[in-house]
């Protein structure tokens, strides 16, 4: 089996340079590649395009990359919870493309799956439809949406093996599997890295073919945005 293991986060992101297009997994702060983001923050790069459902919060996740002005353009579905983001957006310093969440998920999936375009009803009649082909199928209107691909995809899994196979946990799966498939170089960090052969082949969420680099992550903070309990 092909061994994808690398030493650490710094080695993982060493060739990410100015103006790269990145996909970054996660929903809110759940399932984000904390170690890879920390390693990116140590680098002196800018002009990045980030495809990620959210943009982190002011002091965590992609929010820290925005604060450091590494990002030229965000492609996301929801970017609330982030004052620095809002400031850069309103001042015009940051380019932002907002995409319906399902279209984002499917466009990333299409990128990994070699489907250059598909039709979805989301956004018909709204400003999302501007400049896009509209077509009727079975009496309903649909927009044509294009695939999304990235130079590097940064994903985070619960368990992974040296062959690059990944298993996610809970709702931390979210965008990670599709992004893993849509990156030219996919960098996976995992909470627990095991030998190839240790994971049940029937329970793999992301087959290793999609992963070019894998490493054992550390010190996961897993910050909670809305701690809500029942009495």
């Amino acid at each position: 089996m092909i061994n994808k293991t690398i030493k650490d986060a710094d080695e993982a992101v060493k060739d990410i340079s100015n103006n790269a297009v990145l996909m970054i997994g996660g929903f809110g702060l759940s399932g984000i590649p904390e170690n890879s983001i920390t390693a990116l923050l140590k680098k002196d790069i800018s002009g990045l395009t980030c495809i990620s459902n959210n943009a982190g919060v002011d002091d965590f996740g992609i929010g820290l990359m925005l604060k450091k002005r590494m990002v030229k353009k965000m492609i996301s579905s929801y970017v609330g919870e982030n004052k620095e983001f809002e400031r850069q957006l309103l001042s015009g310093e940051l380019e932002v493309e907002l995409i319906p969440q399902g279209s984002l998920a499917e466009r990333v999936r299409a990128g990994g799956a070699g489907i250059p375009a598909f039709f979805t009803p989301a956004g018909v009649g709204t400003e999302v439809a501007e400049g896009k082909e509209v077509r009727e199928f079975h009496g309903k209107l649909y927009l044509m949406e294009r695939w999304l691909r990235a130079d590097f995809s940064l994903v985070k899994a619960w368990k992974g093996d040296t062959a690059g196979n990944l298993i996610f946990k809970g709702t931390a799966r979210n965008f990670n599997p599709m992004m893993a498939a849509a990156g030219t170089i996919t960098i996976a960090e995992v909470e627990e890295l095991v030998e190839a052969g240790s994971l049940d082949p029937n329970q793999i969420h992301t087959p290793g073919i999609y992963v070019q680099r894998i490493y054992q992550g550390k010190d996961y903070e897993k910050r909670i945005e809305q701690k809500t309990i029942s009495q």
């Binding site: 459902n53 609330g80 319906p100 969440q101 399902g102 998920a105 709702t171 990670n176």
Partner: protein, 219 residues
């Protein structure tokens, strides 16, 4: 005039046995508290879960288990986890029967606006555009008027819209209204103590009133 919990309580009466339901953030999330125990329904969270349970006890909090509002949650028995692509495949494919969401404006032909106020607020549409373009039944939970007294039930939406001709029913603090296929808000029920005249004066879009309009049952 209903409070948020009463709006949620009234919407809960729309839920049918065996439904898969997506609840939006805000009042819609409260609906879960009022679904009768004898109904078997499954709540979907668009970030990848079927079978949302109650909020966790302090000791059961799992940062890897949140809902679309980023709140910590639990799972019910028989739940399933999946990716965002699979989640929206379910939504787009029409497998989710009922979507309940908030709105800033609804028009008399069923258009909805809830994602953007130009120049003021742009948080993004999240999954709302997919939901309203896909679900067979969409119920909106909202205040009838804005804080400065302007009707939010309009002839046409003034804000950038989220979806066209998709809302089937609106439940506000004043009334339950059905969007007619030919356009117009048909008044189905009044909040206790609220007159048809008051609702008419606070509804900018075409209001259709036929016969006696009963008061809501929010017990």
């Amino acid at each position: 005039m209903l409070d948020k919990n009463q709006i949620a309580k009234r919407i809960a009466k729309e839920v049918k046995n065996g439904q898969y339901i997506n609840l939006g953030i805000g009042i819609p999330t409260l609906v879960a508290n009022y679904i009768p125990n004898d109904l078997e329904v499954v709540l979907q969270s668009e970030n990848g879960l079927l079978g949302i349970g109650p909020f966790p006890k302090e000791d059961d909090i799992d940062p890897d288990l949140i809902n679309a509002g980023k709140q910590t949650i639990t799972m019910t028995k028989g739940s399933a986890l999946f990716s965002s692509a699979e989640s929206f495949a379910m939504i787009r494919g029409g497998h989710v029967h009922l979507t309940i969401l908030g709105a800033m404006e609804v028009s008399e032909n069923g258009d909805i606006a809830n994602w953007k106020i130009p120049g003021k607020m742009v948080k993004g549409m999240g999954g709302a555009m997919d939901l309203v373009a896909s679900a067979e039944n969409i119920i909106v939970a909202m205040q009838h008027c804005s804080k400065d007294g302007k009707s939010k039930l309009l002839k046409t939406c003034s804000l950038p819209i989220t979806g066209i001709k998709c809302v089937k029913k609106v439940v506000t603090d004043l009334a339950v209204l059905k969007i007619l296929p030919e356009g117009g808000f048909k008044l189905l029920e009044r909040a206790p103590g609220i007159s048809v005249e008051e609702i008419r004066s606070k509804t900018e879009g075409r209001l259709v009133v036929e016969g006696e309009v009963p008061e809501m049952d929010i017990q």
